[in-house]
Symmetry: C2
Subunit: 339 residues, 2 copies
């Protein structure tokens, strides 16, 4: 494999000149540049990036810590990150944590060992104070995370207001016994979505009945199971707000298997607007998180940090949207919501 010194020799110049041609061609006369370029082509020279990264102490690589790449929510965010990254000459190193905090720590180690220029953490589970500490020393951005503190730059939607919006919608359709399947309640996202649900209920003087609330873990299976549990009670909800589309689909299938019609006997609102939510039968009414954009935006912010551009804020709240489909039996007609 040809190295820079080979190119230099063939072109009759020094390695410094070859390096300049590569890095900043205008600092060199057209003539020498020409010679060097020819030599590069002749030898099919490829710079040894390991040497370059070492010397420049940068990798052009950003690390993404993902709880689970198979989850379409994260896959879409990663898609957005990758898109923006490759447009800017960065590569994306993926780290699947499988929801293990240990794995998150080891991602941080990678960062400290300078194997990546920066990190984007998706829904981190690790200690918040530690996260802040690292964020002070290394370029870091978080996506789909709501920490208590706002020291770490975070891209998300407003999980409280969006959930309130979802619940409001069900109330507006006339529902009173509205159940909620939460995500794992050790996650702040889940707490916020729960809070939005509570706020909507309380504002309309509807009691938040703990018999109507179940803790899931964002998965289809947990939605299915918790709905079964709700259906085994004497009083049964007429509507469900699920904190994820996967759970909403579990809820609907559980209801169907129980002989209920959706939306006839049960209205369901999901959360995320993953691809399948529109394909599912019935298509899900859901809160659309701009997942791809969240990924893009996180990467944009990280690039700013990498270039020492000061960020004007630390919380970037993107717009969510209630996407109305058939799972609540409502149709938009002339701008009005009809049951």
């Amino acid at each position: 494999m040809a190295k820079m010194s080979d190119v230099a020799k063939l072109a009759g110049v020094s390695t410094a000149t070859v390096s300049r041609v590569l890095r900043n061609p205008d600092a060199v006369t057209p003539r020498t540049k020409q010679k060097v370029v020819e030599a590069i082509e002749e030898l099919k020279y490829q710079p040894n990036m390991l040497a370059r990264h070492f010397r420049r102490t940068e990798t052009n690589t950003i690390l993404v810590s993902v709880p689970n790449i198979i989850n379409t929510v994260f896959a879409e965010i990663v898609g957005g990150i990758e898109d923006e990254a490759s447009k800017n000459g960065y590569r994306v190193l993926l780290r699947n944590t499988n929801n293990q905090v240990d794995s998150e720590y080891s991602s941080i180690e990678h960062l400290k060992q300078r194997q990546a220029d920066g990190i984007i953490m998706l829904s981190p589970k690790m200690d918040e104070r530690l996260l802040e500490e690292i964020s002070e020393q290394y370029p870091m951005v978080m996506a789909t995370a709501n920490l208590h503190s706002s020291k770490v730059p975070t891209v998300s939607i407003n999980n409280v207001s969006s959930s309130k919006k979802a619940t409001d919608y069900l109330i507006q359709l006339g529902h009173k016994r509205i159940g909620h399947i939460t995500g794992r309640l050790d996650s702040i996202i889940s707490k916020h979505r729960y809070r939005g649900y509570c706020q909507a209920m309380e504002e309309h003087n509807l009691p938040v009945d703990q018999n109507m609330v179940r803790e899931g873990d964002f998965t289809y299976e947990s939605g299915y199971k918790q709905m079964k549990s709700l259906l085994s009670q004497k009083t049964v909800p007429s509507a469900i707000f699920a904190a994820s589309d996967d759970m909403a689909m579990g809820v609907i299938n559980a209801a169907k298997h129980h002989g209920l019609k959706v939306p006839g006997d049960l209205a369901v609102v999901g959360f995320d607007n993953v691809k399948f939510s529109s394909i599912f039968d019935p298509p899900l009414t859901t809160i659309a998180q701009p997942l791809f954009d969240m990924g893009k935006r996180s990467m944009e912010l990280l690039i700013k940090k990498l270039n020492n551009v000061p960020l004007s804020q630390t919380e970037y709240i993107l717009d969510d949207e209630l996407v109305v489909r058939a799972s609540c039996g409502a149709e938009i007609e002339e701008g009005l919501i009809k049951k």
Copy 2:
């Protein structure tokens, strides 16, 4: 940031010894080792991996070229790759190609620039001869690809026999007008699946009617569109074999929107067994590709190549399986297939 020489100084040894403690601790007396370890902890020394990679000319990173990470098929394979990689101390660098051949070439450049120790290509579209050439010089494995040649190690299922199996199943259920939605026919995978379909038909003396065959591109949308097209004809199929689950779901929804009952009026078999296929209504009968395992296996093979372990073969065919669910209206009962 502390460097090795700092550790050496504090421990009162040379850098060579520190390096030894890190790489091969048994080549050092317990006493010196102890001193060095203490110094490392005291200084919170982290090796500079950029320097190490440069020096060792290896990165412990493998590159995965993915047509589209948002596609659950690929996401599951990547999940398997990541799993096996992290068990073996490798990191996974992701490159989303968005089905652009150019992007595949640029992944290869990364490899040549020694930014990764090896590469796994998922469904590559680039020139086959070039692929072979690169495979001779660099560690490379392919997954979900069937090339004509068998020089590049490839992990896949047998797309011909699996498709034949799927079609046979429909024939066995009594269907005669069986349609097929292919993937893009410039892909060998699609051609093989088509071939399996044809073989099954011909073996049962059923004509392969070109009016019953449509070219899709593996996406839900294409399945939907091509089914609409099939339904606009005078003679309409009674069953469809779709070359992907996404297309199968498109087919089913198109049929439903057209007023047909699935499986009552139309039986559908898909391909891939993505997570959502069992959640869909009706749950899809489909060919299960062991996606996660395919990822794992590809990584295993790549690790062998990286360690210069000779591979006994170049084609690794994993077992597929026909998963029978409700989309064909059949139920397994006492081991018998009933209509």
